[in-house]
Symmetry: C2
Subunit: 368 residues, 2 copies
Amino acid sequence: MLIGDDETVRDLTRGAVLLGTGGGGDPYIGQLLLQQEIREGRSARVIGLDELADDAFVVSVAGIGAPTVLIEHLQARGVCERLLAMMERHLDRRIDAIVPAEVGGMNSVIPLALGAQLGLPVVDADGMGRAFPHIEMVTFSVYGNRACPMVIGNELGDTVLIEQATSDRKVEDIARVVTGALGAMVYGVLYPMSGAELRRTAIANSLSYAMEIGRGIREARSASSNPVAALLGIVGDRSRGRFACELFDGKIIDIQRETRDGWHLATVTLAGLDDSAQRLELLLQNEFLVARQDGRTLCMVPDLIAVVDRETAEPINAERLKYGQRLKVLGLAAQEIMRRPECLAVFGPQAFGIDEPFVPIENLVAGS
Amino acid sequence: MLIGDDETVRDLTRGAVLLGTGGGGDPYIGQLLLQQEIREGRSARVIGLDELADDAFVVSVAGIGAPTVLIEHLQARGVCERLLAMMERHLDRRIDAIVPAEVGGMNSVIPLALGAQLGLPVVDADGMGRAFPHIEMVTFSVYGNRACPMVIGNELGDTVLIEQATSDRKVEDIARVVTGALGAMVYGVLYPMSGAELRRTAIANSLSYAMEIGRGIREARSASSNPVAALLGIVGDRSRGRFACELFDGKIIDIQRETRDGWHLATVTLAGLDDSAQRLELLLQNEFLVARQDGRTLCMVPDLIAVVDRETAEPINAERLKYGQRLKVLGLAAQEIMRRPECLAVFGPQAFGIDEPFVPIENLVAGS
């Protein structure tokens, strides 16, 4: 599959915001980079997991931190190209393909821009099926691949290699402080894997899923049908093993935000539109962690909580939420591979300090 | 020259504390490591700058941070060996010799322990002629060598390579946060240089100078002569281009300590022994920066301020200073190569926030 037109890029970005579950970083910069590639006549080639040779050499590429500053196109290209070259030199292997670490947020689009630039295929897969705040919170890691060697760099030429670390959590700790020292615009190349290792540990078809979501919303709008219903038809398509439902329909009556220890923390409270006493509370730690209605938990991490405009179904990042917005809150079941005990130990509720065992959204809403 | 007996090691350590000018880290751990090598039948071989081939490959090895925890001998050996091997692999060169970055404090002794272990010669030179808190504060850097590629690691196996950085100050910033993430016991291999580059930029004979100081103090004690006078005879030997003098003789009447932004800051006040109104104030930022008597500056960085026991001439680290100690404070002229404008820009008074231009100690005390 080739991504070579602006409409497809916008579809992908829209889906990536939804799968970012409130966070993941704004994909706008990645979108600009990819659109620039397309204007210059290049396309991103997306390949399926089954198209990878077992001994192919694959790496993830990600923007790290919060590149809120609009950056020069050529700079970003130069940084990632340098980092990939350093990884190749260090491991003495040619890179055959790149894979997004997370489909939610900016890091779904950045690998595509880079792939278009360098003529490298991008694998239609990721390690989260959503967005998470930490490097170790990926199925790649849970199922046995290592994040390092990892290369980190910025547009000034500063380049750091984490060659070896006690754990992927330690890689996260090191990468976080290095990112702080390197400044705002930092990229990383990590999770060097073989094609066989990626196939064994990845979440399949993530990019095409994000595009399907974005396209579904767009097409429903132009057909004047109900975009939220169309969206739920896609993300809740039981015939394809998916589950999703509307958790709440209401307006924001309170947002408490806090930045602590590098986290974007927030508590968002919605009230029903009919001035009912119903309240929905969303807890955010970069991404949404849990949705509770009147104290009862309706959806919890790693299941996805997505906030969309109640008319247009446009997905909205947590940082763009404002008092008075009228929204629908959706809950989406995470992929089965994300819900196993070994995954919950790394990115289940307890990993984020929530003192409740994980219960799948299907069971939580069935009880209502 | 071979260092193969405990007495020489203790001489070196004593001299290294004096040249640490209040800081540099306690050389005790390095001393234990080197003594262990000697007990196991190995010696450290010290070679002169003139014994290095022009195309020899030399690196510095240093403990970073404050390894106040007593560590296992084999661990420290393993860490440094691993880091040297990684540097060799990364640059595809065999390391021919190691050189201390600083002769003051712990990092004079650690390279000797490592040299003894690995059979690598240690160059009788350094980049400071004293101790400084930052990686970029070395003549190696001021005169054109680069700190990176630099390898950083700990005993757990965590390993980070700073491949490239905008400046050696940036290497310092990155290394500092990486050290924080890696924990207490961290080593670095840095400043890869050729023999010719080292010869052009190093301070010569640093290790033998530290040993001469330590030996001089010891011999004066056993000869029941005046150890402080003997010490001044060595560090103030004008026939060898040195200048030093006693700045003050007194007791500590106040110590204000503070840890801020990772700095060990202190103001130490001494009063004359005869209950005179004379006061000496020492400002410390890891190392002593300036000595002022009754408001008049007597000695300032990069010239050295050393505090010794007034009877035994034992040099005393700033962290071991206590209320009531009776001390002599000495001022030592820095090497000429350290006082040039390009050096003062990096480690002169202004670099430490002192709003006075550098004046050599010879001129300051001549005015009294």
